[in-house]
Each structure stands twice: as structure tokens, then as C-alpha cells.
Symmetry: C2
Subunit: 257 residues, 2 copies
Amino acid sequence: MQIATWNVNSLNVRLEHVLAWLEKHPVDALALQETKLTDDKFPRDAIREAGYETVFTGQKTYNGVALLTKTPAEDIAYALPGFEDDHKRVIAATVNGVRVIGVYCPNGQALDSPKFEYKLAWFEALASWLNTELQNHDKLVLTGDFNIAPRPEDTYDPERWEGRILCSPPERAALQTLLDAGLADCWRLFDEREGRHRFTWWDYRNGGWARNAGLRIDHVLATPALVDVCRECKAHVGERGRKRPSDHVPVVAEFDV
Amino acid sequence: MQIATWNVNSLNVRLEHVLAWLEKHPVDALALQETKLTDDKFPRDAIREAGYETVFTGQKTYNGVALLTKTPAEDIAYALPGFEDDHKRVIAATVNGVRVIGVYCPNGQALDSPKFEYKLAWFEALASWLNTELQNHDKLVLTGDFNIAPRPEDTYDPERWEGRILCSPPERAALQTLLDAGLADCWRLFDEREGRHRFTWWDYRNGGWARNAGLRIDHVLATPALVDVCRECKAHVGERGRKRPSDHVPVVAEFDV
DNA sequence: GAATACCCAG
DNA sequence: CTGGGTATTC
């Protein structure tokens, strides 16, 4: 079973990219972030014609998440319990017996911003909900755009990024709380691989892609039952080089289930 | 000698269209309207590489006119004398001994709008200047987007358009004043032609192009010395069917000079 | 419906 | 730099 995540930065603009990518990479579940579409404008039909059903929750301009699946999505959750604000950042479903939680975590903007407080509070609510979900699901994947680079080596320039937004101690602690609850970062199972691309996001600004000035902030976290059978976890870096790309690329994990 | 006019509705967006069209139709002079570019952003170099020199006068967002020529443009005028407001609507030059005046005439918005008053005042200033220009030039072409459909048959639906903006008596009188000064509408030399496309503009809204709901508001007016040797005057309607087209198409007149 | 400006976000 | 929203024009 293959599970992928992709922050598309507007599904309106990226629909053709997603459909073309799915045709080449028919994963079992694809979590999308930043669809930036209200539900009435979601391109459900075009995606259905490509062989995928979708569950989604979105809003205008910001956020918006979706889960594309080849088999039916069951027990759908559209928000963090107890954190039902107007940000559409969470979509979860059970797919083929695997609990898949797709998240678009807050960016936080800057350490001294109110949005940073919101980010930490949001992660607390996520961790709390994750614990209850873990009680019910042996096989669980938490995936999406976390807006946190876990380690110095997950940035193109640690000197520049350490301690700053996306790389600060409280953010990394928040991520660690999720791992401590019983998840592993699938990416790290393949850390030793030679010549591996290291990032999942490159800023549009300042020629980030041309300079390979990227970060690894999109993750696939999984429970031991899945980590034990994880065969692969990689970023499809080529998508960043297409015309009108998203600033994020797909990250795909494969499990022997 | 071929002289053409084209309201491009943003030269930024339409530059590739213009260059491709010029490659197929290497007219001697092309008057552009609605370039919507300040002079510092005019793509002079790209046009030069296509074999044309340009004179232009533009502004941000609105209006903006240019004259593209294969041979040097002389005696350039950038405005209506005595009507130097901030609208960039007029560019004139002598090309191969022919005086070419390119105009983007005001739209007028509605008969009861202050913009309608402006339109009529602007046409008066144009007529006044035209008279002095005619004293100096035997061969003269006045071309551009006039925002006036001269006759009922120059609209797709006379019942709907007669008397309204672009088709009102005072506007048609203003156009007639220009003709009375000593010009003829080259288009009408070929009125009897079979199966001829009748329009030069189709509204973006309501599927104007698909319904052929067009108007003839872009014109080539010429002095008798040119009318006598006018071989052709037609609209390049196919341009309206391209991707991301302007709402106007080129109108081309050919003279045996 | 298709442009542009200005604003905000990442 | 690349999205989206708003307002304005034609």
C-alpha cells in the first residue's frame, strides 16, 4: 500500500499536475494540503474520472485538505476534536484498514507572532487527538505538511535556519510529542541512502529551487505495525521542476500491507 | 503598403500573440491599443528582434498606444494637441511618406456617464487636430479602436444596440465628422464581399465569441489618395479563437503605395 | 470574462 | 515568486 502527501498550493492551479502524477503513481491514498477551495468548488468529478474518490474540507484562500483514495474512505473526520475553528487543516479516514490522517499544520509565521502561539496550541490539540486515534488503530499514518523541519540536516543551511521558524525548539518538541505518542518518521528509515534528495519544499522566492535551498517539512509518520513493513519513503523532487509547480513536492511511503 | 490596428488588451499578456501574428503578417505598420504598460516596461527589445521598431506612450492599467513599423517612424506625436490629459490614447508618425495616426478612443461607459461627455470632447479635439494634419499630409491613415460601430449592420443585434453606447447618434456624428473632414472607412470599400466576417470585437462575457455577438468598432480611415489604391481591408477573425485572446482582432488594410 | 492594482500570506 | 481576495474597467 502506498500513501502520499502533497501540499499543492491551490488545487485549482495544480489539478492537472495532480492527475498527471496520479496516472504515473497510482498510490492508494493521497493527502492534499492547501487546496484553497470551498467544498462547492472541489473538482470531485475530474478526480473521480481519474479513478479516485475524495473526501475534503476546504475554505476560501487559505488551508483546505483532501484525501484521495482508490478504495472507499470510512469513518471520516473533518477536524481536530475540541479545536473546531475556521481553519480547515485536518481530514482523516480509514482506508483499507489503515487510519490515514492528513494535516496541514500552521506555519506560525515568526516566533514572536500570535500565529506561533496558535501553531503550538494546534499541535497540542493534534497530539491529544492522536492519542485517542492510536487507541483505536494499530495501523495509522499521520501525514501532511507539518511546517517543521525535524533536524538541522533537514534544512539546506542549518546555520541560517536553526532556532528560526520551522526549526525552533518548541516546534521540534511539538513534533517529538507526536513521535513519542507512538509514531516514527518513515523518511528516516532510509537516511543512509546514497544521493538522496533531502527536501520536500523550496521557497518560490530568491530562486529557492535553482539554489536547492529547500527544507524537509512534509512528513509521513506511522505506527510500528506499518514502520515494520515500510519499504520506501521518498520525495518526488521532479515535480518541483515542472511548469507552474507547487512549492512542495509529493512524499510517498510504501508499506507491505 | 499594409497598415493594421489591434487592441491587444495588455501587451504584457499578448506579446507572444503579436509577435506570432507579425511573423505571418509582416505589415508595414501596426497600431496597438490598450498596451497597459508604462514606457519603462515596454517590450521594445523583443519587438525589435522581430524586425520592428516601436514608438509608444503608455500608462499603468489603462490605455497605452504604440506604433510598430519596419521602417523608421518620423515626426512622432504623442498626444492630441490641446488635450494633454493623462490618458495615453494617441500616437502618430510618418511612415514611408504616409501619416499614420493610431488612436484608442474613449469607451464612454454609458450615455449618462461623465465618461460619455469626455468621449465627445475627446473626439472634438481629435477632429480639430485631424484637420491640421490633413493640411500637411495627402496620404493619411487614422486607425485604431474607435469604440463606435458606424452602422446598424456593424452590430450583431441592431435591435439591442441602436441608440446605446457605441451606437448612439452623438457618437456616430462624431465619427462622421472625421469622415467629413476628408477620410473614408476602408472597410466599406469591400462591403459587398460574400461571406465576410463583420466584426472586430467580441465581448469576453456571455460567450460573445461563441455566439458571434460582435461589433465593428476598430477602423482604418484613409484619405482619398490612399482610398483610391486600397486593395483590401479585413479583420483577422481567427485571432479571437486562440488561447487567451484579446477581445479585439487585428484589422488590416492594404494600399498600393 | 479578462485584464490590472493593491493587499495579504507563505 | 506565486498563490488568493478585493475593487475597477471595458
